[in-house]
């Protein structure tokens, strides 16, 4: 592949400086990204001992076979599915609604945009603690509901509502992020389309259905996929909420939390790595589906 030209002094210097600029990236991505991926793939088929010196022994497909009988995986997947089914549609519609409002020529929209963003820039640890406090038996939520005659309820301790508490918090925290993405997309819709529609006598409602929505299709797809991927990676909130247990009664157990527990509480690193591999395949296939459907023009 190396052409003669490459050996000229100029090109050599260019090549060297290129690699010099890339060196930190190559080293860090190599050691902390490429190597871990290779590790995961290999060690998922091993029994890994982490106490003291790390050692491993090949055990074939045992880690994967074991998953079929592991009830907690199914609970975690079920929680995730429930979470996706509720959170993703609500946060997408909320984000779109807010973006549509802010896209009108309303006054003070940049102020609203900055304000709405507050939860998105706050750490998940802080948000979780604030919400736990609001949800607690003597908390703001119960006081608010008592105005309408409801009696105090232990929101945190009930397995039926614990996950919903996290859902509400995450919808609240994530919707503004997607709102900004929608806003950017709305601003890309050519004004001439609306003008043409106005000449044809289209009502605002018809404009929305026939111009705005079709235009937002790729963005919506992107927002939904990002929402799903985010859900599969849910960890911080569940961990802090349940003190690391995924409780009450596994109600807040997520896949990443399960992996964490197997690796660092049960010290079954090999099994945890096999689970990681499965999670990676799920997330990457979701991402790939998105990349295929939603051609990224920016890559060209």
């Amino acid at each position: 592949m190396l052409t003669q030209n490459f050996w000229s002094k100029q090109s050599t210097r260019e090549g060297l400086s290129g690699y010099a600029f890339m060196l930190p990236t190559i080293v860090v991505l190599g050691i902390f990204l490429i190597l871990p991926i290779i590790y995961t793939i290999i060690l998922a088929f091993h029994r890994v001992q982490v106490l003291g010196e790390v050692s491993y022994r090949f055990n074939g497909l045992k880690n994967f076979v074991r998953m079929a009988d592991d009830d907690r995986i199914w609970i975690a997947l079920q929680n995730t599915a429930e979470y996706v089914a509720i959170v993703v549609p609500i946060q997408t519609i909320l984000a779109l609604g807010l973006a549509l409002i802010l896209n009108t020529n309303i006054k003070g929209k940049s102020w609203f945009r900055v304000a709405f963003f507050l939860p998105t820039v706050t750490s998940s640890a802080v948000l979780t603690l604030i919400f736990m406090w609001i949800y607690n038996t003597n908390g703001l939520l119960n006081h608010f509901l008592s105005l309408f005659g409801f009696s105090a309820y232990n929101w945190l301790g009930d397995p039926d509502v614990a996950l919903k508490g996290i859902m509400i918090m995450n919808i609240w925290a994530t919707a503004p992020l997607f709102m900004v993405i929608y806003l950017a997309a709305l601003q890309d819709i050519p004004e001439s389309l609306y003008e043409a529609a106005a000449i044809d006598g289209a009502t605002p409602w018809e404009k929305f259905w026939c111009i705005t929505l079709p235009f937002l299709k790729p963005v919506t797809f992107f927002v939904i996929v990002m929402g799903i991927i985010g859900t599969f990676q849910l960890f911080d909130q569940s961990y802090i909420f349940s003190g690391g247990s995924g409780g009450p009664n596994n109600a807040t157990l997520t896949i990443v939390l399960l992996i964490y527990q197997y690796a660092f509480k049960n010290l079954q690193m090999g099994y945890a790595l096999a689970l990681t591999l499965v999670l990676a395949l799920i997330i990457m296939s979701v991402t790939l589906i998105q990349r295929i459907f939603f051609k990224e023009e920016s890559l060209d």
Binding site: L2, E14, G15, L16, S17, G18, F21, M22, P24, T25, V28, L29, F32, L33, L35, P36, I37, Y39, T40, L43, V50, V54, I101, L102, I106, A115, F117, L118, V121, T122, S123, S124, A125, V126, L129, I130, F131, W133, I134, N136, L140, H143, W172, P176, V180, A184, I229, Q233, F235, Y239, I240, G243, I259, Y260, A263, F264, T276, A280, M284, L288
Partner: protein, 275 residues
């Protein structure tokens, strides 16, 4: 027609006001709790303005929890160093991928794109094993080194430098500057908007990161604030006044960065699509 438009405007404002309220209530409630006494909090009153305004909680978290100051320091050290290195390394890589014609460039660019698809949680356990073998658990470098480059922002910087006017570099070359001098003296100072967008995301990401520190740091002295906050909560379960004060101390620096770089924030979000 005019009347219905005006009515619609009012409905929209009402919606926005309501949502602003929903956004702010949890924060103001937490902020107000951090200035209340424990007695006032336990009484279950729902006043947002403290009856007896007190700074005791802030005082107490630093005195009663001797490690609190240390956690704050750890978080600052890690987040600042990570941010500085990211700005430098991501820009260098982005510049090389956009402008320098070196063998294998396409291949490296493809690798950066591939890395974008891989979520951090997936490399967590092997990262732990590698850091353990380096003897880097419970050390700053264990948190810093794995996060000093970021594929998303390498990609962003590449896009930025692709649109960078070539004439400036050519002029620099005529002045006898080499690649490094050109980059640091001519190119980088003109990349400020892109660097500002990066600063917010990298700093916030590092400052708020929970999972990696949880795995790398087991010694309480090396905790960053999110871990400390979690431990603190375990210890002072019902002392919500203290927990909220600690939460506020933790939120403030991130908020300051956000306020300061806010105008670059939106372009960053729309670029990265979050994360």
């Amino acid at each position: 027609m005019v009347r219905s438009t005006r009515l619609l405007t009012w409905v929209l404002y009402l919606g926005l006001a309501l949502y602003t309220l929903i956004t702010f209530i949890p924060f103001t409630w937490a902020l107000s709790a951090s200035f209340k006494s424990l007695a006032e909090i336990s009484s279950g009153a729902t006043n947002f303005i403290p009856q007896n305004f007190t700074l005791d909680n802030y005082n107490q978290i630093f005195t009663q929890e001797p490690l609190f100051g240390r956690w704050l320091l750890n978080s600052v050290v890690v987040a600042v160093i990570v941010t500085v290195f990211n700005l430098l390394f991501n820009s260098m890589a982005g510049y090389a991928l956009a402008r320098i014609n070196f063998p294998g460039r396409q291949w490296w660019f493809f690798l950066v794109l591939a890395v974008l698809v891989i979520p951090g949680q997936i490399t967590l356990l092997p990262k732990f094993l590698i850091l353990k073998s380096f003897g880097w658990l419970n050390s700053y470098q264990g948190l810093i080194v794995p996060t000093v480059v970021n594929a998303t922002f390498i990609f962003m910087m590449r896009q930025f430098f692709l649109n960078f006017p070539k004439e400036l570099e050519e002029a620099a070359k005529l002045d006898g500057l080499n690649r490094f001098e050109t980059f640091f003296q001519v190119v980088l100072p003109l990349a400020k908007p892109a660097l500002a967008a990066q600063t917010i995301f990298i700093f916030m990401g590092s400052w708020n990161e929970f999972l990696l520190p949880l795995v790398v740091m087991s010694n309480p002295e090396m905790f960053t604030l999110p871990l400390g906050l979690n431990a603190f909560r375990g210890q002072y379960v019902t002392f919500w006044n203290l927990i909220m004060a600690a939460s506020m101390v933790f939120t403030l620096p991130a908020l300051a960065i956000y306020a300061f770089f806010n105008r670059y924030f939106i372009q960053g979000v729309t670029f990265t699509g979050g994360k």
